[in-house]
């Protein structure tokens, strides 16, 4: 390759670890792969020939895969995948519809939040941790827990122990992120929240995510996932398409 206008070498190879967030078909047999990398943030790269049965990449570049990857960075917006090794292909997720549904929801949210080529080691570790948890035990609150942590990472710290509007101590019956958290009956805004769901939310945001993940399937868990999804969608100003699509 030639020289760029400013004379610096425009071409370089680099290695990183990454998680495949999504892929798009490109041309006859290629794909564009969107990766959340550990050191380079969100990267879009072309994987040539990956849709062919005999591709050297095989299944390694499927969404959700954790990989060690070598990329070639040219002048364009898209890098090129040159080598891939699998770190974890999360087979339990790929082979269980319920886990897969949850994983895809996490991947879509991260794709929306992550910035191109802006490293966020915290986000990377959060996603990797959530996928590992999902593969190991599939707890009901994994998506809700992840979304609330994601909102916290984006700077939201909702008030949970008193009314965010008047400061009254209860009963707290509604939740609205724009108004700072939970609200009492006279200040109510946004959507309703049950006492059980609020208890779970306090666990998640109070540094007891592990304990929250032990909680069994139940109405409060489903409710909290719904509230988290709406809060995240409002923040992103965009619907999460995978949320609820495969709910049985």
């Amino acid at each position: 390759m030639g020289q760029s206008r400013d004379g610096a070498d425009p071409v370089s190879l680099y290695s990183d670890h990454g998680i495949v967030l999504r892929t798009y078909k490109l041309g006859e047999a290629d794909r564009i792969v969107v990766l959340l990398t550990r050191d380079h943030g969100k990267v879009r790269a072309v994987a040539k020939g990956v849709r062919k049965t005999r591709s050297k990449f095989g299944s390694r570049l499927e969404p959700c895969s954790h990989i060690a990857v070598q990329l070639y960075s040219g002048r364009g917006e898209l890098d090129i995948v040159t080598q891939v090794e699998s770190i974890d292909h999360f087979r339990p997720i790929r082979e269980d519809l319920d886990r897969l549904r949850r994983a895809v929801t996490l991947l879509e949210a991260v794709d929306q939040v992550a910035q191109d080529r802006e490293p966020s080691p915290r986000l990377y570790q959060m996603l990797l941790g959530a996928l590992r948890t999902l593969a190991a035990q599939n707890p009901p609150l994994v998506v809700a827990g992840f979304f609330w942590k994601l909102l916290a990472l984006e700077g939201f710290a909702p008030v949970l122990d008193q009314c965010a509007s008047c400061g009254s101590s209860g009963p707290l019956v509604a939740f609205d992120l724009d108004h700072g958290g939970v609200l009492c009956a006279s200040c109510r805004r946004g959507g309703p929240i049950s006492a059980d769901a609020l208890d779970l939310l306090r666990l998640i945001l109070g540094g007891k995510l592990g304990q929250a993940l032990e909680e069994p399937e139940g109405l409060a868990a489903t409710e909290l996932e719904g509230i988290a999804t709406r809060a995240l969608e409002a923040t992103l100003e965009r619907r999460l398409r995978s949320a609820g699509l495969l709910d049985a």
């Binding site: 999504r22 078909k25 490109l26 041309g27 006859e28 049965t53 005999r54 050297k56 990449f57 095989g58 299944s59 390694r60 499927e62 969404p63 959700c64 699998s86 292909h89 087979r91 790929r94 082979e95 269980d96 519809l97 897969l100 549904r101 895809v104 929801t105 991947l107 879509e108 794709d111 398409r241 995978s242 699509l245 495969l246 049985a248």
Partner: protein, 203 residues
């Protein structure tokens, strides 16, 4: 964006750019190619497109592409009606037919579940598949969707949906491509190939 081309050329580029797998650069390249070819070649292409659109429809039973309301495969009464091979697209039927290993019928979903694109089971020909299972003498459903995440999500969804129906549901096996080298196989494929190993008959 202001177009640098005259309107007819820009229209052609725009239309070509809507085709799957054709980016703006390819659309431009094809458009300029078409402007260079003799007029009768361009007319032949336009005619082929309109004729195909006019004469080809989807089979009312299996949603394969067809010249009449029933495709040739559904109309062929020598084929085994007890098996339905479920595929994503009509082109997958061609691939399975080439194996000469299958004599049953097909069902084309016209896509795959893709949660991130917002494509769910309602946008696929799933309801029609259930109706066929109810109405026809089906004993086995072979899930022959792509071995990628969308195809697998679709297969898992259908397996769950069909489990109370009382038909045998099978999934095509994953394995190594014949003629390839083992060392290049990815871990998931090789793992599944090991799992699906068979006893070797002493010849």
């Amino acid at each position: 964006m202001n177009s640098v081309y005259t309107q007819p050329v820009q229209d052609l580029i725009d239309e070509l750019g809507r085709l799957p797998g054709i980016g703006p650069k390819s659309a431009q390249r094809i458009a300029f190619h078409l402007l260079k070819v003799p007029e009768q070649d361009a007319v032949r292409l336009a005619h082929a497109i309109t004729e195909a659109k006019r004469r080809v429809q989807f089979c009312e039973t299996c949603f394969n592409i067809s010249e009449s309301s029933q495709c040739e495969l559904c109309a062929d009464d020598r084929r085994d009606v007890s098996m339905i091979c479920v595929v994503e697209e009509p082109k997958d039927i061609v691939a399975v037919e080439k194996t000469q290993e299958y004599r049953g019928r097909y069902h084309v979903l016209q896509g795959a579940i893709n949660p991130i694109e917002g494509i769910g089971p309602d946008q696929l020909r799933v309801r029609e598949l259930l109706e066929r299972i109810r109405d026809e003498a089906v004993k086995e459903i072979i899930l022959c969707t792509n071995p990628n995440i969308e195809g697998e999500a679709t297969a898992m969804y259908l397996a769950r949906l069909l489990s109370p129906v009382g038909v045998t549901v099978t999934r095509i096996a994953s394995g190594l491509p014949v003629g390839g080298d083992l060392e290049y196989a990815d871990e998931l494929t090789l793992g599944r190939a090991l799992e699906g190993r068979r006893a070797v008959e002493a010849g």
